[in-house]
């Protein structure tokens, strides 16, 4: 019952999130790219807190920094903050209905953007382009599908294993 999903699924999901950060999108849409990595991380934090924690978030963030060419540690910081918030409210988030959960994820992503903006301002880079603020909305629309997809994958892998 309480069997943990295989590491392949967890880290594979995170890797896909990493990949989606740099997949080329048409100019214009690229600014509103949803932060899929954060959402996948959020899912695993909710479902398997014993496997995924702040350390995973930090390492995933460092990998994302390397891949997308941001300052080393920038996304690590953002993801650690996000992971901490998810851990704090995990008990509630888990039992929210899906749309409410999506709303909470939206709030998390919006907060993440604020942190991002703060880092940029501190680094002397000024304001982010306005279109990047659309990304949390895309994430909000995407969360239920992502959640259902990963739930399906996880249950299936558990069935196969069990």
């Amino acid at each position: 019952m309480n069997r943990a999903p295989s590491g392949w699924l967890v880290y594979g999901g995170l890797f896909v999130g990493l990949l989606l950060m740099v997949v080329p999108l048409p100019a214009g849409i690229e600014l509103a790219r949803p932060y899929v990595l954060a959402m996948v991380l959020c899912y695993w934090l909710l479902e398997t807190p014993e496997q995924v924690g702040l350390g995973t978030a930090f390492l995933a963030g460092l990998a994302a920094d390397l891949v997308s060419g941001t300052l080393l540690g920038e996304q690590a910081l953002r993801l650690v903050i996000l992971a901490f918030l998810v851990q704090r409210f995990r008990a509630r988030l888990r039992f929210f209905p899906l749309w409410q959960q999506a709303l909470a994820v939206f709030a998390l992503l919006l907060n993440d953007r604020l942190v991002d903006q703060a880092i940029h301002a501190a680094g002397g880079d000024g304001w982010l382009p306005w279109a990047t603020w659309l990304a949390p909305f895309v994430g909000f629309a995407l969360w239920p599908w992502l959640f259902l997809l990963f739930d399906e994958l996880r249950l299936r892998s558990r069935d196969r294993a069990g």
């Binding site: 990949l19 690229e30 600014l31 390397l66 080393l72 940029h120």
Partner: protein, 324 residues
């Protein structure tokens, strides 16, 4: 989201989590600062970037597949048409090149007459752009050539239209380049018509450059073409940078701010040319008559450097910019 009655069960877990959180936050901040300052972290990052290559390779594979499919289904007639067009272009360009060579020779001779020591060879190298999107708030692209191929930090990058940017980071097989339009980028330019020298800053938008601090009396008009002036030695002189689109006074009404459209195609091209000046002699600035030559300034300069440029009409625009 306040739960009035039941903070107890999760309290211990939460309290236990704060210390690691702070540790991680501190670690991330230290890394960021170290990377920003260009210390060991940016070195480590350059080495670790090799680890990101498989991800870049995977991420750009859909684009490569689409390109391959396109190549497969391109019809014969299309290929013939392309071939014809390219042949024509080649002829036109070859004739231009001949004329250019003649002008370059003449230029060199005149320089020798003037006693100038500024001989330079231009080295160029073709590199492909890897089709991945890096952090959207900074304008950078990834090239598929690295230090193994002789790419070095500081090389200028041009395409068919003009200057595109410069290389800022090199790993053995990849290089990252900063585009002309990044807010952190600046390039010393010269108005091709009047010889006025100034600096063009990026704005973060792919279709605009900004030239602040132009004196009111300066000879600059809408439609003027900008070319690199070669000051600082990072960008070879004479490459097109952009066209002036708009002029308006700044807040103090003492200076003019110009907006220019970049000449290079900054949205996805496929290949770029990396060029660098190999100077045979000491770089003594642009080949202009006024005796005090502006000293070496890096292209990443403060606005103060821009105010230092003067608006003397140079007698040399014709030899500076021989292209039609």
């Amino acid at each position: 989201m306040a739960y009035p009655g039941t903070p107890a069960p999760r309290l211990t877990e939460g309290a236990g989590g704060t210390l690691p959180l702070l540790a991680y936050l501190a670690l991330a901040t230290v890394l960021m600062v170290a990377d920003q300052r260009g210390g060991f972290a940016s070195q480590a990052r350059q080495h670790l970037s090799t680890l990101a290559e498989p991800v870049w390779w995977l991420a750009s594979s859909p684009g490569r597949l689409a390109e391959g499919a396109h190549d497969l289904v391109t019809t014969r007639s299309r290929l013939l048409a392309d071939n014809e067009r390219l042949t024509r272009e080649l002829q036109v360009n070859a004739s231009r090149l001949h004329r250019l060579a003649a002008v370059a020779e003449e230029n060199q001779r005149l320089r020798e007459l003037l006693g100038g020591t500024r001989g330079y060879r231009l080295e160029a190298k073709l590199a492909g752009i890897i089709d991945v999107d890096l952090d959207p708030s900074r304008q950078r692209i990834l090239l598929d050539a690295g230090s193994d191929d002789g790419v070095r930090v500081g090389q200028a990058m041009i395409d068919a239209g003009g200057v595109l940017g410069q290389v800022i980071e090199v790993t053995p097989r990849r290089a990252t380049a900063l585009l002309l339009t990044d807010p952190e980028h600046a390039v010393p330019v010269q108005v091709a018509r009047s010889g006025l020298r100034t600096i063009a800053f990026g704005t973060g938008r792919t279709d605009m450059l900004r030239l602040p601090n132009i004196p009111q009396s300066a000879d600059i008009r809408v439609g003027d073409r900008l070319v690199t002036s070669g000051i600082g030695g990072r960008f070879p002189a004479g490459f097109p940078v952009g066209t002036i689109e708009q002029l308006h006074p700044d807040d103090t009404r003492l200076f003019v701010v110009a907006q220019a459209r970049p000449a290079a195609r900054l949205d996805r091209g496929l290949e770029v040319l990396l060029v660098n000046n190999t100077l045979d002699a000491v770089d003594d600035g642009p080949p202009l008559p006024p005796p005090p030559p502006p000293a070496n300034e890096a292209p990443q300069e403060s606005p103060a450097a821009a105010t230092a440029t003067e608006g003397d009409p140079a007698p040399a625009p014709a030899e500076q910019e021989p292209t039609p």
